[in-house]
């Protein structure tokens, strides 16, 4: 019985590599790693690229990177979850990032967030059930001169209020009701 | 000589600490000469009296009844001792806190309905069955506690050490392994 316990194999990797061979994005990622000579210290650069290509870092992708950089999977996972910028689950079709930096905060960013949370019925860090919108927060995007700022699909928008924010999100939410 | 007016109280706990107190065996007889047990699950007094010198509290603060009781005790007692891990750390009763706040309903459901072997049903008797608190708390989160005797339960010799210290007028100062949780 002990022998069977010890010989159990969980070979996920071959399947991932086989799947990867048919996906162009994995090829681009591998080329990027090659540019860094598959150096282990390029892990964060590689994760950036992977997220750019795939939108998020799913387990198989992390395992692929671990394999190519010859790093333990636990290390890759540890790094990917340490940094806020990396996300391990897919975002919605649109993103709304409310900056909660100090300047935005003293100018009412919390109220904007509360209003958006109430309207979308999701909390910060979550995605609406219809996958349309991910509501996120940032620790300061350095746009303090135009506070409070909200980033809609990557576009920094200055001097927001709960009203302007909800107005902006109109097209993205509420298909359900 | 006036005897020390001592009480012991049983809040949310398993009564193990009181059992351990009873394990003092013959020492209890010596104690009886020095202390007057004015309130305790071991004696038949219904109302917590005024002017208690020392109170040993067993158990965590789990329900409305415990909460009212501990405030009353604190108001009427000079020196309050958290007696055993449930009083000191909230211990096992507080494991339900991990399920999130306001879980009273689901805890009862699990215990009295899902876990019931026959005739399951939530205990509901307003005025008799006290409502569970949102969060189980150690005694010192609710009122000021003077001294702590950890242990699950505190072994009889620890209790004896504490009582000796108290009776000799010293502060109850347990040390080293006598302070062991668990």
């Amino acid at each position: 019985m002990i022998a069977t316990l010890f010989n159990a194999k969980h070979d996920r990797l071959p399947k991932i590599l086989e799947h990867a061979s048919g996906d162009k994005r994995f090829k681009i990622l591998e080329a990027h790693m090659k540019k860094h000579q598959f150096r282990q210290d390029a892990l964060i650069e590689v994760l950036h690229k992977a997220q750019e290509l795939f939108g998020y870092l799913e387990d198989d992708l992390l395992l692929f990177i671990a394999c190519k950089l010859k790093l333990p999977a636990s290390r890759v996972y540890g790094v990917a979850t340490f940094y806020h910028f990396f996300t391990l689950k897919p975002n919605g079709r649109h993103t709304c990032v409310v900056c909660l930096g100090t300047a935005c905060y003293v100018k009412g960013a919390a109220k904007i967030l509360a209003a958006v949370e109430e309207r979308t019925k999701v909390k910060a860090g979550e995605t609406t059930p219809d996958n349309e919108l991910s509501l996120l927060t940032a620790r300061c995007i350095g746009a303090c001169g135009i506070a409070p700022a909200v980033v809609y699909d990557g576009t920094v928008t200055p001097r927001q209020t709960p009203e302007t924010a909800l107005d902006h999100l109109k097209g993205w939410i509420g298909h359900g009701d | 000589m006036d005897r020390l007016r001592v009480s012991t109280v049983w809040l949310g706990g398993c009564a193990g600490c009181h059992m351990s107190f009873l394990d003092l065996d013959e020492v209890l007889i010596e104690l009886a000469a020095r202390i007057e047990l004015v309130y305790s699950p071991l004696i038949d007094v219904k109302e917590y009296p005024e002017n208690v010198d020392l109170c040993l509290v067993e158990g965590a603060v789990c329900n409305e009844d415990n909460l009212d009781m501990i405030h009353k005790i604190r108001a009427r007692t000079k020196v309050l001792v958290s007696f055993g891990d449930c009083a000191v750390t909230a211990n096992v009763p507080a494991i339900r806190n991990q399920l999130g706040l306001k879980n009273g309903e689901s805890v009862l459901q699990r215990a009295y309905v899902e876990g019931a072997q026959a005739m399951g049903g939530l205990p509901q008797e307003p005025g008799i069955v006290p409502a569970l608190l949102d969060r189980v708390m150690p005694v010192h989160e609710v009122v000021y506690v003077d001294y702590f005797v950890p242990g699950c339960p505190p072994p009889a010799d620890h209790i004896q050490a504490v009582m000796n210290q108290v009776l000799s007028g010293a502060e109850p100062r347990l040390q080293g392994a006598q302070l062991k949780f668990g």
Binding site: L5, H10, P72, S74, T81, F82 | N97, V145
Partner: protein, 238 residues
């Protein structure tokens, strides 16, 4: 190798120049409390229990990572240090769910022992009561995150003694946790050699041999030192 002379708690001692304050103190028979330190693996200075005062330096220094220097005057027992140690232990006890009464390591736990040695008779901070799971998927061992201190001893033995790199830390802050491979059930790990070094290294009941129940979890920590000495010095001191 050159020796350095220094004083610890007023006691004059000499120590090897490569020695840490912790090693020098141990040689002189002075015990400094530690938690994340483990003989055989490198130190990280994370638990902050071994902080000491050094005359002329305003910051408190961890004894485990600070090397001795000539003429150092070190204090390990000031009122402030004792108070901070106690607070650190209280913070640890409040952080996760350390229910000693029902813990496999009750009576054999370094956190528990440190707590009573430092006079922690209760925890003044509100217990956090986080929800953590127990990973029982492994054939031989279990991992109870409720008892974990994030001392990373298991991570370090897995990396540096066993060399498998199965264990690491994911996330950060209070949400940090010990993971196996890609945060998967330990039992499904491809890299775990089932050597059990992590279990030997654990100071609390977080890692345990399966089947051990309340208070049964004793471990043989000397084995780790034995392996490291054998590997590095070619000396087999059983």
């Amino acid at each position: 190798m050159a020796a350095k002379t220094l004083t610890i708690d007023g006691k004059q001692i000499s120590a090897d120049e490569c020695a840490t304050i912790l090693e020098a103190a141990a040689d002189a028979g002075i015990t400094i409390p530690t938690l994340c330190h483990l003989e055989g693996v490198y130190d990280v200075g994370a638990c902050r229990l071994c902080l000491v005062e050094v005359t002329g330096i305003s910051k408190l220094l961890p004894a485990c990572t600070t090397k001795v220097a000539e003429g150092m005057e070190i204090r390990t027992d000031t009122e402030r240090l004792i108070r901070y140690r106690r607070m650190t232990l209280e913070l640890l006890l409040a952080e996760r769910n350390h229910v000693c009464a029902v813990c496999v390591a009750n009576g054999h736990c370094e956190l528990q022992t440190l707590a009573f040695n430092q006079g922690v008779d209760h925890v003044r901070y509100e217990y956090c009561f986080p929800k953590w799971e127990v990973d029982n998927s492994h054939a031989l061992f279990g991992m109870d995150h409720n008892r974990c201190l994030l001392c990373t001893r298991c991570v370090r033995v897995c990396w540096h003694i066993e060399g498998a790199g199965t264990k690491n830390v994911s996330g950060r802050g209070a949400k940090a946790r010990i993971i196996s491979d890609l945060n998967q059930p330990w039992g499904t790990s491809d890299t775990c050699t089932k050597c059990g070094k992590c279990v030997m290294a654990c100071p609390t009941g977080a890692l345990f041999y399966k089947g051990s129940t309340n208070s049964e979890m004793e471990r043989d920590r000397d084995k780790l030192e034995f392996i490291v000495t054998a590997r590095e010095k070619k000396q087999w001191i059983a």
